[in-house]
């Protein structure tokens, strides 16, 4: 909402003594963020009021006239203009040479500078402006004429226009969103109360805002002692209506509003419509009470004994009901919508927007004026459902004080009698089932200070609370208060602390760290495992990528993976976010394909959560379910398990099958976690082992080339970790891969829970090491793992004397049915240096062992 500082000054006169910048900073710090500040006096600097002395025809042009205008100096100036609406004696806005004005032909906010212009032979000095050129309205029909009777000001030639038009003002704007819980601040009166409290200044309320005001106070004798009209109101939609007040006015003349009112509205961001609508908006801006005027002639009524009855019904919309509203749109009404209706039709959508048919037009003479408070939830829900937000709906959806309606009504009536010649012809009909809307709270001084963390004087506390409208009684160290009707948000002690804290100013609360003992905190073992994983992969030259937790069905299809058990998102805005991911691989694979030419080779890994339908806490063995945050889960039966996985992939253009390149990366990662892995083709698992594989893992099988994939597990315990392989030909084709690709997905939780991060240091043997390369020729179908197993078992026999390390050097195939596998064997003797004969003995045992695989030493 936009607020005029001049209007605030009417409520808080003393605020004039505060520099504007300081005031804005205080509002920002204690009320809400000020989104924008506009200094109107700067905008209209230099523009003055001029008086037309003489109008003459231009000697050389029929289109132009020559005006002689008094600008308050010794000699008048000559201005040539194309406008023909000027008469001698008119007051007009004058922009001197050097001033700037909106370029009305540019359709933007572009400005042009005023110069001396020769127009058909006559020098035109300065310029007379239209309303549009001054950005006061869209009116560009002729020069703006300033009429004394439209202004509450005596015009003098030469005075700054800001004085004449009340433009010596500052407009500050607070986003409505910042006032979600502060419906009372959506008015000049409301914000003024806050500002007065901030500075301990007096709040000066106009008489009509006092509770005891009545019709006679406001309009004198402009009302009938014997009312000739009455509005009956039947409230059928009870929960939606907190108060409904209404009155009938006759003899109304619908005209354009006077300039002062148009300027007032313009400052607050409203367009002028006509005097009736403008007055309702005026009251809303000033007092935060939205109002609506119906043309009474369009409302079904009955006449009996010369008394007209207008029966209004406030009810829920009927099934299929529609209404043509003021914005020119035919709206289908949801049944929760509340409407103001006569006996046949809906006249308006309550609290949101009026209907076209009952709207005020130039010919309206009799109006029904409504001032009501509707329930905030009812208005919000309807407003969202029909997609219409208006100033009224914004105000109502932020909870309004029902005590206001009649006062606002009287204020509007007063203005209508003054500006539209209206006569009151009915009593006020007021439907109000008054309930207690204030709260009684008792807080202690000690608690206030403890909560804020600073000392605050009791006088200050009382001043703040009373300033905000509370009735406060201080007794001993307790403040007992009755909250004001417009502050339902002050409901608990903490709300009171907040009021005091923000009015004192958070900037005045001296920061102090909490007092606490010395203690140590470290990451949980799981977090440590995650950090170790990050370190390992980055050290291996792999880059961490991230994908969304959402996937599309299409992505899974492209990977040949099933969507079974994928949890769908029911309000997805795009197909890309339609499901929660079950695996990390699909997203990572797609990123590889999009990136494959950005580097000749690279690796990506991702850590992330996955979930699936049907996998949730059952109250049993949470540990077995790969649950990283099992520490939270036990009491949450039915909550889905979020397993954390790590997916790793590589892409390169070498001859080495991608499988092996990736296998090396994963093997080294696992080593860094003190885990020895084994890679085993699924065909070699027993039926029981296959059955024990988690669903997510077997689900991934169709993605892979069946001949180039393996299950990854712990070489010792056989704990299952995940799946590795190269994508199948169809998948490669689908993604357009032209390089070696391999990708794996592992359960991070399983890895971390079987890993060890404690380094176990061992002293190396002191005797010289001996290295032997042993090459065995074996039948083609003998797997490397089998050879390694034999060699390891053999070396285990010598473990007392020598530590043996075995690693592969080469696998060579020349013959069709045989291959030669070379391993390097490193002997590190423990007790004494090794002799040739000992090495020979060991070698022979290896040879004997290899016989079981039909291997022979080459």
């Amino acid at each position: 909402m936009k607020y005029s500082l001049n209007q605030v000054k009417k409520y808080v006169p003393e605020i004039s003594s505060i520099p504007v910048e300081e005031l804005i900073a205080r509002i920002w710090a204690s009320i809400a963020e000020v989104e924008n500040v506009e200094y109107l006096s700067k905008k209209y600097e230099g523009v003055i009021v001029a008086r037309v002395e003489k109008i003459e025809k231009h000697p050389r042009s029929e289109k132009l006239v020559v005006a002689t205008v008094d600008i308050g100096k010794k000699t008048p100036v000559t201005v040539v203009t194309a406008a023909h609406n000027l008469d001698a004696g008119d007051f007009v806005p004058y922009i001197p040479v050097g001033g700037r004005v909106l370029d009305v032909h540019a359709n933007t906010s572009k400005q042009i500078e005023i110069t001396v212009r020769v127009m058909a032979g006559i020098d035109s000095i300065g310029m007379l402006a239209s309303e549009k050129e001054l950005e006061l309205s869209e009116d560009h029909e002729g020069i703006m004429i300033l009429r004394q009777n439209e202004l509450k000001h005596e015009l003098v030639a030469g005075e700054p226009i800001v004085d004449a038009l009340d433009l010596d003002d500052v407009i500050f704007e607070i986003e409505n969103k910042s006032l979600t819980h502060r419906g009372d601040c959506l008015s000049i009166a409301g914000i003024s109360r806050e500002i007065a409290t901030l500075y301990s200044f007096d709040l000066v309320l106009p008489v009509w805002q006092t509770p005891s005001v009545n019709i006679a106070d406001m309009v004198g004798d402009a009302f009938q002692k014997e009312p000739s009209a009455i509005v009956t109101v039947e409230v059928a939609a009870k929960p939606a209506v907190e108060r409904y007040s209404t009155i009938v006015l006759d003899n109304v003349q619908v005209t354009p509003s006077p300039l002062w009112l148009r300027i007032y509205l313009g400052k607050h961001g409203f367009n002028s419509v006509n005097n009736i609508v403008d007055i309702t908006n005026y009251v809303m801006i000033e007092y935060g009470q939205p109002m609506h005027a119906f043309d009474a002639s369009t409302v079904i009524h009955k006449t009996r004994n010369e008394k007209i009855t207008y029966p209004l019904i406030v009810r829920y919309a009927q099934a299929g009901e529609t209404i043509l509203t003021l914005d020119g749109k035919e709206k289908k009404l949801p049944q929760m919508a509340t409407v103001i209706a006569d006996e046949k039709k809906a006249l308006a959508i309550a609290g949101i927007i009026g209907g076209q048919e009952s709207a005020i037009s130039e010919t309206s003479t009799r109006i029904i004026l409504e001032s009501a408070v509707f329930n905030k939830y009812a208005i919000r829900n309807t407003s969202m459902s029909i997609g219409t937000t208006t100033d009224a709906s914004v105000i109502f959806s932020r909870k309004q004080d029902p005590e206001k309606t009649v006062r606002a009504l009287l204020r509007a009536v007063h203005l209508l009698t003054e500006l539209a010649g209206a006569k009151v012809v009915s009593d006020i009909t007021d439907i109000y089932s008054k309930t207690k809307i204030t709260n009684t709270l008792i807080v202690s001084h000690e608690k206030v200070e403890a909560f804020l963390g600073i000392a605050v004087s009791p006088t200050k506390i009382v001043q703040i609370l009373e300033g905000l409208g509370c009735q406060v009684v201080k007794k001993n160290n307790l403040y007992r208060m009755e909250t004001p009707t417009w502050r339902p948000d002050i409901a608990i002690d903490e709300d009171v602390y907040e009021e005091i804290a923000r009015m004192v100013g958070y900037g005045n609360i001296i920061p102090e760290l909490p007092k606490r003992g010395i203690f140590g905190v470290s990451l949980s073992p799981y977090e440590k495992g995650k950090q170790a994983t990050l370190r390992a992969f980055t050290a291996l030259g792999i880059n961490q990528g991230m994908n969304f937790s959402f996937v599309s069905k299409q992505l899974y299809e492209r990977c040949l993976l099933s969507m079974n058990d994928a949890r769908s998102v029911i309000n997805a805005i795009s197909p890309d976010v339609q499901y929660m991911r079950k695996h990390l691989i699909p997203g990572l694979l797609e990123q590889f394909s999009k990136n494959q030419y950005n580097s000749e080779k690279f690796g990506l890994f991702e850590l992330g959560k996955v979930s699936r339908k049907g996998l949730h806490y059952t109250g049993i063995s949470v540990e077995d379910l790969h649950m990283p945050e099992s520490r939270f889960g036990i009491d949450d039966l039915g909550l889905p398990i979020e397993d954390e996985h790590v997916a790793i992939g590589i892409i390169d253009d070498s001859q080495q099958p991608g499988y092996f390149t990736l296998k090396e990366v994963i093997t080294r990662y696992a080593e860094s976690m003190h885990i020895l892995l084994e890679f085993i083709h699924p065909d070699e698992l027993t039926a029981k082992e296959v059955k024990q594989l988690p669903t997510w893992a077997t689900e991934l099988f169709p993605l892979y080339k069946k001949g180039r994939m393996a299950v990854v597990r712990n070489a010792g315990t056989k704990d299952f970790y995940g799946v590795i392989g190269e994508p199948g030909t169809l998948v490669l084709k689908e993604f357009g891969f032209t390089k070696q690709v391999a990708i794996a997905e592992l359960s991070l939780y399983k890895i971390i829970s079987t890993a060890s991060f404690e380094p176990l240091y061992k002293e190396p043997p002191k005797f010289p090491i001996v290295t032997e390369d042993l090459c065995f020729e074996v039948p083609l179908d003998v797997q490397y793992a089998a050879i390694l197993k034999v060699l390891t078992e053999v070396s285990d026999n010598f473990v007392q004397d020598v530590v043996i390390r075995i690693y592969p050097i080469d696998i060579y195939q020349k013959k069709e049915d045989k291959k030669q596998v070379t391993n390097r064997v490193v002997f590190a003797p423990i007790k004494a240096s090794l002799s040739d004969s000992q090495i020979k003995k060991y070698r022979e045992q290896f040879i004997t062992g290899m016989l079981t695989l039909k291997g022979k030493l080459v």
């Binding site: 909490p514 949450d636 793992a785």
Partner: protein, 354 residues
């Protein structure tokens, strides 16, 4: 030849093709079928050639029919070919042409290595930095859940069913009525119930999502981190002091700050902590939209209803929570313009800091 007989023989030929295709075993077989039925000496070609025997007025009709049949047959064969190719590639995929237990391929012991240093994701780097600061300050870290119930996302945070603020979090919802959490505060009550005792100091971080369309500056997925402090006699002054200590550590300098009221249903009162833009020292730059100030942290004193849900008696304990979004920090720190680059894994982007 008449129109009737041509229809019949074309139908017969099409059927023959289908029969033959149903018996093929290899790509070669299909190629054979193709040359038999569409090649130069095929029945179809012969039929086309025999058009000259047809009465002139029937020629266009019959010619069109034969051509159409030819097209159909060709497309059936194409389809069979592509199916067979897929089947063959699947068969080829089935061949176990590598020893998965071996360290490298036969006759090729050279494993390409990724000699460069790998990189941590910029968001991860920021998370780690935050965790360092928080753990140093004595806060125990907890990673948040992503899929959450209404209770922890809203109810436990003082936002019961009809609370309008629920709409401020434009949440996704799954078919089984779970919410991909829109904030890390879903963990507040979980952590309180888990740690039970005061003084409670915890830091929660994690992935959040909101139902928003994605563009250069908006994403539906983002990271948040928040601190939680509960003890006897915790005050607003303590809250401001702690946040200042954190912010100064995070930006590695004394950040000039100011505080304004803010509204979050799960705190009372709520504040927004603004820092003088650390990127331009308050002079105004694109990071702070030329205001000189950055909204760094949203915070507040934990609402008594939330404390109560977490098992802490608000008459005895008070506390504060503060949180911030990481994505914007990462973008500001690195001058990243498009938020989508965080989730694209462009290798040039990921390696650009190395």
């Amino acid at each position: 030849m008449t129109i009737k007989t041509i229809d019949r023989s074309l139908a017969a030929i099409t059927k023959q093709v289908a029969t033959k295709l149903s018996q093929v075993k290899t790509l070669e077989d299909i190629y054979a079928v193709r040359s038999e039925f569409t090649g130069k000496t095929s029945v179809l070609t012969q039929l086309l050639q025999s058009l000259k025997d047809v009465p002139t007025e029937d020629r266009p009709t019959i010619g069109a029919k034969v051509n159409q049949a030819k097209k159909e047959i060709e497309s059936i064969i194409e389809r069979a070919l592509s199916l067979m190719m897929n089947r063959e590639s699947l068969l080829k995929d089935e061949v176990r042409d590598i020893d998965v237990s071996a360290p490298f391929h036969t006759n090729n012991s050279k494993i390409p290595d990724f000699t460069g240093i790998g990189s941590m994701h910029p968001l991860q780097y920021e998370i780690n930095r935050m965790l360092d600061i928080f753990t140093t300050m004595g806060f125990t870290p907890f990673e948040g859940r992503e899929l959450e119930t209404d209770y922890y996302v809203f109810d436990s945070l003082n936002m019961p069913k009809e609370h309008p603020a629920r709409q401020n979090w434009d949440t996704f919802r799954t078919e089984d009525n779970l919410i991909p959490t829109p904030h890390t505060s879903n963990m507040q009550v979980r952590v309180m119930r888990h740690l039970k005792a005061a003084p409670l100091r915890a830091v929660i971080y994690g992935r959040c999502s909101r139902n928003e369309a994605v563009d250069a500056v908006h994403g539906h997925t983002f990271y948040q981190i928040e601190g939680l402090y509960i003890d006897k006699g915790v005050s607003i002054s303590n809250m401001i002091g702690t946040i200042s200590a954190f912010v100064n550590a995070f930006f590695d300098k004394n950040v000039t700050s100011k505080i304004q009221p803010g509204y979050f249903p799960f705190v009372e009162p709520g504040i927004e902590y603004l820092g003088q833009c650390p990127f331009c020292d308050g002079k105004g730059c694109s990071s702070c939209k030329h205001t000189g100030w950055l909204e760094l942290v949203g915070a507040g004193m934990i609402h008594p209803n939330v404390l109560r849900e977490g098992g802490f008696d608000p008459a005895v304990y008070s506390g504060f929570a503060w949180g911030l979004g990481l994505d914007r920090m990462v973008m500001q720190r690195n001058g990243i313009q498009d938020i989508r680059s965080l989730f694209a894994s462009d290798i040039r982007f990921l390696q650009s800091s190395l």
